[in-house]
């Protein structure tokens, strides 16, 4: 691969349960994701694709094997360093949005900055910029609960990019949307990718996966 590797995994395995009840959700996954790439992790429900994303996004710990982020072995990092890494370098987009319904759009978007302890004025400015990117700056003071599904997902994208991340993890980003609004959200994500943000999309949707530069296919916990 001619580009710099952002994520490298070696013999990555995840087992749930113990002894006879043990279930190997992921088996010795070796993969590389380059900086600026768009990659689809594709597989059926229960294939282990979400487990893989959780490991790559440092939300979960592998049973064995290792993950290198920018050359750093993440299994050697402390919880504090992992928290910091997710907060500074990662953006998350979820199928179910996960927004604080009673809070304003603006407050939802600036949550990662609030967690990192960014100054009040700076975080408001950055959140407004992120909302502008997704075309929802006029909804900043609306309550999140009053938005449509497509708008909610765009707010989530704004939240994912507000910290200017190196990589965005999107878990079935269009799963809860109709095809029309889904297309808008896809366009937003790929536009961000064109600007240099690495994109990792977890999906079972072949059409969406094809739009990514590369597909990683997971079948029964193995990379096929």
């Amino acid at each position: 691969m001619d580009m710099k590797s952002l994520i490298v995994t070696k013999n990555l395995s995840k087992t749930y349960g113990k002894k006879t009840a043990a279930f190997r959700a992921l088996k010795d996954i070796d993969l590389e994701i380059g900086e600026g790439e768009s990659v689809a992790i594709i597989g059926k429900s229960g294939s282990g694709k979400s487990t893989l994303m959780h490991l790559l996004a440092l939300l979960d710990k592998p049973t064995s094997g290792s993950i290198y982020i920018n050359g750093v072995n993440s299994t050697k990092l402390s919880t504090r360093q992992l928290n910091k890494m997710r907060n500074r370098y990662f953006g998350f987009v979820f199928q179910q949005f996960f927004m604080n319904a009673n809070d304003t759009v603006l407050n939802n978007v600036l949550l990662p900055l609030k967690i990192s302890g960014t100054r009040r004025r700076t975080r408001k400015k950055l959140a407004m910029e992120a909302l502008k990117t997704v075309g929802l700056e006029d909804k900043a003071n609306n309550k999140a609960t009053n938005l449509s599904g497509g708008q909610k997902q765009r707010v989530c994208i704004a939240r994912a990019i507000v910290n200017n991340p190196k990589i965005i993890f999107a878990d079935e980003p269009t799963g809860n949307l109709d095809s029309n609004t889904g297309a808008k959200v896809e366009k937003l994500l790929f536009d961000l990718n064109k600007k240099g943000v690495t994109l990792v999309i977890v999906t079972h949707d072949e059409d969406l996966a094809k739009k990514c530069q590369r597909q990683i296919r997971i079948v029964d916990g193995e990379n096929k």
Binding site: D60, R80, N83, F98, L111, I115
Partner: protein
């Protein structure tokens, strides 16, 4: 995440379910209120008693009785308070023992004792009524006091007061009695003659004995305990009258005494120890007040226990409220943690919620105690009410020293109660939390 942001978020979370938050605060409030008001009353009474004691003085004044009398009185008191004691023939004689001549002689030898101030009493005079003055009406007297020493400064509004050892019959009366006897201006009562009446138990006739008014006492704790105070001669005369049918040895027996000592060169403890050597139990003014204060402390302790039980129930309420809150916000916690919030910050957020519940509960307790205490105090001081003649006595006293420790303790209890739910929140795994439906 900055502390101020966490604090703000905790506050917002409390406001999210207002009804539930309010009920939890109410539970904390009830417990806090009981404790705060109990301590405020104790502080109010203590402050008043201290002021009165300081006004009396009584440096170098000591009262004494035989140890057996003292034991009889104190075991009577503790039995009356419900404590059952085994009978001890050495201590529990029902007849108080009189002070012997030998003891008196030894007492006079104790260094520091001012023998010329020594006063021995058979008992306080019992009087049926007081009369005389301008109206010639008769007024009931419940309790007669003494002016046993010039070192005791009873607050007086007119006159110089009794000479304890004068052979003349002298009396001090309270302002209320002076008015009742027709002396609207207390000065008018000075040097007037009043009569105290003792009833003969057989003939039912009254013997009235005259005395000269030397002072009018200010209304207050002392005046209400004994509205008239006699000098020794007057007291003995009336005591003799009421005990005239007793055998001579009983009539002349002395059960209590009072004396002054050189308090500049001898400590109260030295004198008490010396009296103890000759079989006499001694009490200073502070000791007598101390007994009253112990009683007050016990009352407050009982109320504190009730308040504490209410607070314990409230603490369980806090645990319950926050567990519900953790359950409801599982996804939010998951998102916060996925986006890099540390477990300790999650813990802090929920702990702050608990502490704020404690703060508001006790703060409302303080506010209501102050309002209610002030209203009740005003009602009691209104004209014609119980405390009208005690303008300096306030039933409740609020000082930072008696409020802040209670509020801090309640906040501490709330924090401890909050640690259970806060720990559960902090331990949530972000993936499981986000999957939670």
């Amino acid at each position: 995440m900055k502390f101020l942001d966490i604090l703000k978020e905790a506050n917002q979370n409390l406001l999210r379910n207002k009804g539930r938050t309010l009920l939890t605060i109410l539970a904390i409030f009830i417990g806090s209120f009981v404790i705060i008001i109990a301590n405020a009353i104790a502080a109010g009474v203590n402050k008043y008693v201290d002021d009165q004691i300081n006004a009396i003085g009584g440096d170098g004044y000591i009262e004494f009785m035989t140890k057996s009398t003292y034991d009889t009185v104190s075991s009577y008191l503790s039995t009356a308070s419900g404590e059952i004691q085994e009978y001890n023939p050495d201590k529990n004689s029902q007849t108080a023992l009189a002070i012997t001549n030998e003891q008196v002689e030894k007492l006079k030898q104790i260094p520091g004792i001012k023998t010329d101030t020594l006063m021995l009493l058979g008992g306080n005079a019992k009087v049926d009524y007081i009369t005389g003055g301008k109206t010639d009406k008769k007024y009931l007297i419940a309790s007669v006091g003494l002016t046993p020493s010039e070192s005791l400064q009873f607050q007086r509004v007119a006159g110089k007061g009794n000479d304890p050892f004068s052979s003349e019959y002298q009396i001090e009366i309270s302002l209320d009695y002076a008015k009742a006897l027709g002396y609207d201006n207390p000065e008018d009562a000075i040097d007037q003659t009043v009569k105290l009446a003792v009833q003969d138990p057989f003939t039912k006739s009254f013997t009235e004995i005259e005395g000269r008014v030397t002072a009018v006492m200010a209304n207050g704790l002392m005046a209400s305990m004994s509205p008239v105070r006699l000098n020794l001669a007057y007291n003995d005369r009336i005591y003799d009258e009421s005990t005239k049918y007793l055998p001579t040895d009983q009539k002349n027996a002395k059960y209590t005494g009072a004396v002054e000592y050189d308090y500049e060169n001898y400590s109260a403890k030295e004198i008490k120890d010396a009296l103890d050597q000759i079989g006499l139990a001694a009490l200073t003014v502070e000791d007598e007040v101390g007994m009253f204060k112990t009683f007050l402390d016990v009352m407050v302790a009982v109320l504190d226990v009730f308040g504490g039980i209410a607070l314990l129930a409230a603490a369980i309420g806090i645990i319950n409220t926050l567990f519900m809150s953790v359950q409801e916000r599982t996804r939010e916690i998951g998102l916060d943690k996925a986006l890099g919030m540390s477990s300790s910050k999650v813990f802090l957020s929920f702990s702050l919620e608990a502490i704020m519940l404690g703060f508001w509960g006790s703060a409302f307790g303080v506010i209501l105690s102050i309002i209610l205490g002030t209203i009740v105090d005003n009602i009691l001081h209104a004209s014609g009410a119980v405390l009208e003649s005690f303008p300096t006595f306030h039933v409740v006293a609020f000082t930072p020293e008696n409020i802040i420790p209670i509020v801090a303790t309640v906040m501490m209890i709330a924090f401890l109660a909050g640690t259970l739910p806060a720990r559960r929140a902090a331990r949530k795994n972000p993936i499981d939390a986000l999957r939670y439906e």
